[in-house]
Amino acid sequence: MQALATGLAFFAKRAAQAILVMLAIAVIAFAVKGALGDPLREIMGEAVPEAERAALRHELGLDAPWPAQLARYLGNAAKGDLGQSYIYKRSTLEVVLAKFPASFELVLAASLIVLLVSLPAGIYCAVRPRSLGARLTLGLSVLGISVPVFLTGIFLISIFSVWLGLLPAFGRGETVELGFWETGLLTLDGLEHLVLPAITLSSIMLPLFIRLVRSAMLDQLGSDYVRTARAKGASSLRVWLNHALRNALLPIIALGALQIGNMLAFTLLTETVFQWPGMGFLFLEAVTRADIPLITTYLVAVGLLFVVTNTLADVASLWLDPRIGLEGQR
């Protein structure tokens, strides 16, 4: 009961923080919109007399004092109205949300690769630190860190698309509509298109996570309870996976969560290289064409993603280690 109450209190605190951060992001987006965007020019063009402009400005509420405008912006934002895109002539939120599945599936595929490779590789490097394989892995990880994500993409395209002609180099390929969700995971063509971008995006995270898993595992393997478990005759595999890895997950999640923002940036770069029609690609299009409402909506959406994933990482930490919530109460 006590634990449940602590958990709820922890969650409420995190949720309140998340809402505050989102509010701050919305205010920034409002300020950007006010400073850079002139909706009148987009609606009426340049050659309209000043009297008409003033009338429309009044009608749209653009002559109201800024606190009133901010309140209206936040009120509309809460209802899901973040403005109209200049390019698409549609609600910006709809435009950005339509691109979300593409980015999500790319990040999902890349995360799966990172998880499936970095856990075994990191554990191996921790339990056999002197082996050739471990040294080779760590040596290669220096190289991996040194190749920018967009270059990995370009190298992969040069080799597998242009030279060998094995895999497609741009776009999502054939997709299937599942209600509002447009997925590329259900067709062979869609999956083929996913291979190179997913490998590219995972390549930049892999070296970091292999090192992270390795050092977290090394910390745990040196601790007393591991020695005790071994002394009691538990098998090596059982000690590594059941005891050490379970406790190593906590620092891995905590430090991994610090990479969420970088993951957003790397996704944007990967999407640019592969012309992957996701949110990052949309953002750059909006930037080149100065679509201010679309830009600010992307900022809000990315801020929301950042806050939600960070909160989820916190909740996962609490679930793995109930002491965290209690420490927060002190």
Binding site: I145, S146, I154, S158, G261, T288
Partner: protein, 304 residues
Amino acid sequence: MSARVSALVAARATALNHPLGLLAAIVLGAIALAALAAPLIAPQNPFDLASFDVLDAEMPPLWLAGSDPRFLLGTDSQGRDLLSAILYGTRISLTVGILAVAIQAAIGIPLGLIAGYTGGRVDSLIARLADVQLSLSSLMLAIIALALVRAGLGGETLGRFAVPLLVLVIGLAEWPYFARTARAATQAEAAKDHVRAGRALGASDAGIIWRHILPNILSPLIVVATTQIAGAVMAEAALSFLGLGLPVTQPSLGTLIRSGYDLIFAGIWWVTVLPGLALVVVLVSVNLLGDALRDGLDPRLTPR
């Protein structure tokens, strides 16, 4: 003075124990020298539109069929000599990287010294600020900041002020790495006898920090600076690749990679791959040098 001598001794020992680090230092030194001397040794000035001719466009490098002996590494889509462009591009990339890291150090080291020396509430405030700053991706912040400049003021203005803007956005967000290292090293140093003796003799706090602490914590800071330069060069390349950095008229390595990218599909791979390889060589050598320096100057920081 003694700190400097011991750093030199350590550097020599490092060089002898780390053939790979030594190699990286030599390669990096050669690249830096070539970049610095670019105006003297480059066959052509890639910023000067009159010095190249579009009739020479898309020539392959010397070892491929159809090459021209004037262009060792071939030419880009505008007829620009690729070797010259890479030399000048490396020069810009390294300049932006080093200046950005100088800003990081100028913010981070004083904050770290203050936090480590005073402790208490100031310390926890600075630590909290560093945590928040680190959780926000500096690359993402830089992308957003430059994207807003571009959307608001236009691509031309962005291009004109690209170098100072890049230095600022890459420099401002990454101070916590310097601050954390300086803080930890300061705490260790402040507990030592020579610092306590200085304080007992009535030296001012600023004097102690400047004369007794800073010279003794330089080694770990040099290690941080090295890895940060690799990060800053990479960030500059990424931003320029996105079209948020240096313009095509004044290309950095990232801009060259971006402008040659479309040509890959026509089989003209060298315009993008060769600057890309140059970038990778720079980054690998900086990172290897950083690893070697860490082993040599500050064994405590070596990951187990």
